[in-house]
């Protein structure tokens, strides 16, 4: 029984933590983010103790909200005359008086406002003056209910490091008095871009890294998709690029089980068991992609989703429509001319035009210097040389190994060397 409650509460807490923090920030002000997080933490502790003793309540989310609300009332009473909370704020003045506190608390805690609060908080977390690294750390901590140790293990860094990052971010909010709010209409495109970028970073952290454990990886995928779904479901944020990003994540996520074995080994696209791909997620992805097909703006998410879609609907690896995929990469490169896109594009060029042509293209590229820091460049070279010069292929694979710290990638590269 205890074990069951633990499993249920873990996922429940993940979902509810963000909502609670979003409301609590409205109550205490973002300068008191730490206090908001503490109230959520205390609420969870109370829940675990109470539920272990008395069993689950009828409506656990409502129970959590009620307890958090009561704890917030206590915190407001404790701080009624403290300068920590800015009671000059119009929303907060009425919290200071016992005559109105309870009614004002109810008003701030309205269920139908919570989704909006969550969105506002998401925009605040992705404030342009915060580094992407700090943004996603904060999102995981405040909106996804991750503990510092969970974030640390997701990013393979120390808890101390994560705590420092969070501390600096909270200080930034406190000093700048950032108020979580919806961006102005003329800024929504730009601000949503930042939010999508952070969400996609979280997703990639879960999708790509063979470095953290499977549970945390899947958790990251789920959280990223959950946050993006919130954007898809909200009238003010359901923009084409949001749907496109959601489609992209659905397509990628559909292959996650086949892409990495339970032992953490990477399975290449060519060898993946396509029967194992999640048809449900693929069809959801298609639906989102259809919704994304409006407006005039073509985002990188649209194109990347189109590429992922091509792979998802191809029955056998041999039937892959590389020509179409290359056309998408050409488009992507036009829109987003980075070294990584250029390298990925050439990986497709290699499938279509062979090693010799690709090598020439690689050597004359303006990105050569940047690629030489990227293990994927040497991995591609290894693959190309594997046909002609096994010694040279091995040299390149070894160089690739020296440039990555991801263990699953290293094992994969070692396997490629062994297969030469």
């Amino acid at each position: 029984m205890k074990k069951e409650i633990q499993v249920l509460t873990d996922s429940l807490f993940r979902r509810e933590a963000g909502k609670m923090v979003a409301v609590l920030v409205k109550i205490f002000g973002i300068e008191n983010l730490q206090l908001s997080e503490d109230v959520v933490q205390e609420t969870f502790i109370t829940a675990v103790q109470n539920w272990a003793l008395k069993g689950l309540p009828e409506n656990p989310p409502a129970w959590l909200m009620r307890v958090a609300k009561n704890k917030a009332i206590n915190a407001i009473r404790r701080n009624k005359y403290s300068s920590n909370i800015d009671f000059s704020d119009p929303d907060r003045k009425l919290l200071q008086s016992e005559y109105t506190m309870s009614a004002q608390m109810e008003k701030l805690w309205q269920e139908d406002e919570i989704q909006d609060d969550l969105m506002r908080m998401m925009f605040a977390c992705c404030h342009e003056q915060l580094s992407p690294e700090n943004q996603i750390t904060l999102i995981l901590k405040t909106l996804c209910g991750f503990s510092t140790s969970e974030i640390a293990s997701a990013f393979l860094t120390s808890e101390e490091n994560i705590s420092k990052r969070l501390y600096r971010t909270r200080e930034f909010f406190r000093k700048e008095k950032i108020k979580p709010e919806f961006p102005e209409d003329n800024q929504i495109q730009e601000r949503i871009e930042a939010v999508l970028k952070a969400i996609y970073l979280i997703f990639n952290e879960g999708y790509n890294s063979g470095k953290s454990n499977e549970l945390i990886r899947k958790d990251l995928l789920h959280q990223a998709m959950y946050l993006c779904k919130l954007l898809c479901d909200h009238s003010q944020t359901q923009l084409p690029q949001v749907y496109a990003a959601m489609a992209l994540m659905c397509f990628h996520a559909s292959r996650i089980e086949s892409r990495i074995t339970p032992e953490g080994e990477i399975v290449l696209l060519a060898q993946q068991d396509r029967g194992n791909w999640n048809a449900q997620l693929i069809s959801e992805g298609v639906q989102y992609l259809n919704k994304a097909a409006s407006g005039e703006k073509l985002s990188t998410y649209h194109i990347e989703a189109a590429i992922a879609y091509e792979h998802c609907v191809t029955k056998n690896y041999e039937d892959t429509n590389w020509k179409q995929i290359l056309a998408y990469y050409d488009l992507l490169f036009q829109l987003y001319p980075t070294s990584v896109v250029a390298l990925n594009r050439l990986t497709v060029v290699y499938k279509l035009k062979g090693g010799e042509f690709t090598l020439k293209e690689l050597k004359k590229s303006e990105f050569l210097k940047e690629w030489q820091k990227n293990y994927l460049y040497y991995s591609l070279l290894g693959e190309i040389y594997a046909e002609s010069d096994k010694a040279l292929a091995e040299t390149n694979y070894l160089k690739a190994i020296s440039l990555t710290s991801a263990e699953a990638e290293i094992r994969l590269l070692n396997k490629k060397i062994a297969d030469l």
């Binding site: 003045k93 009425l94 200071q96 008086s97 016992e98 005559y99 109105t100 009614a103 004002q104």
Partner: protein, 116 residues
């Protein structure tokens, strides 16, 4: 703009109401009244007071049980606000939900400046 202290006497507490809902409805009126004061930037602060209390008196600082008035005439709470004139302060006071009760009293006093 001047400052006024409104002292509340009489009225009814939560236990005098038929149900918690009726009490909540009553408190909702306080919310509306104080909310509009807050919106006008005129609310300074307000709190209800406990029924129990003590009194300290004179140079001897003699402490006795108090307040000494008849229960319902005891000060039960206060609100400090800004207003342009006594008239405006009285108008504000007339919206106080405590006046829904026959025994409700709002005493309106201007906060004075002491001569230096």
């Amino acid at each position: 703009m001047k400052e006024y202290l409104l002292l509340f006497r009489g009225g009814e507490g939560p236990d005098d109401h038929e149900s918690p809902e009726a009490w909540q409805q009553h408190m909702q009126k306080w919310m509306q009244w104080m909310g509009s004061l807050q919106e006008d930037g005129k609310l300074i602060g307000a709190q209800p007071l406990n029924e129990t209390g003590k009194v300290v008196r004179g140079t001897g600082k003699v402490i006795s049980d108090g307040p000494f008035m008849e229960g319902k005439e005891m000060v039960g709470g206060y609100l400090a606000c800004k207003a342009n004139s006594y008239d405006e302060a009285l108008e504000i006071s007339s919206g106080c939900p405590i006046l829904e009760f026959e025994n409700g009293i709002v005493e309106v006093r201007e906060i004075s400046e002491l001569k230096m």
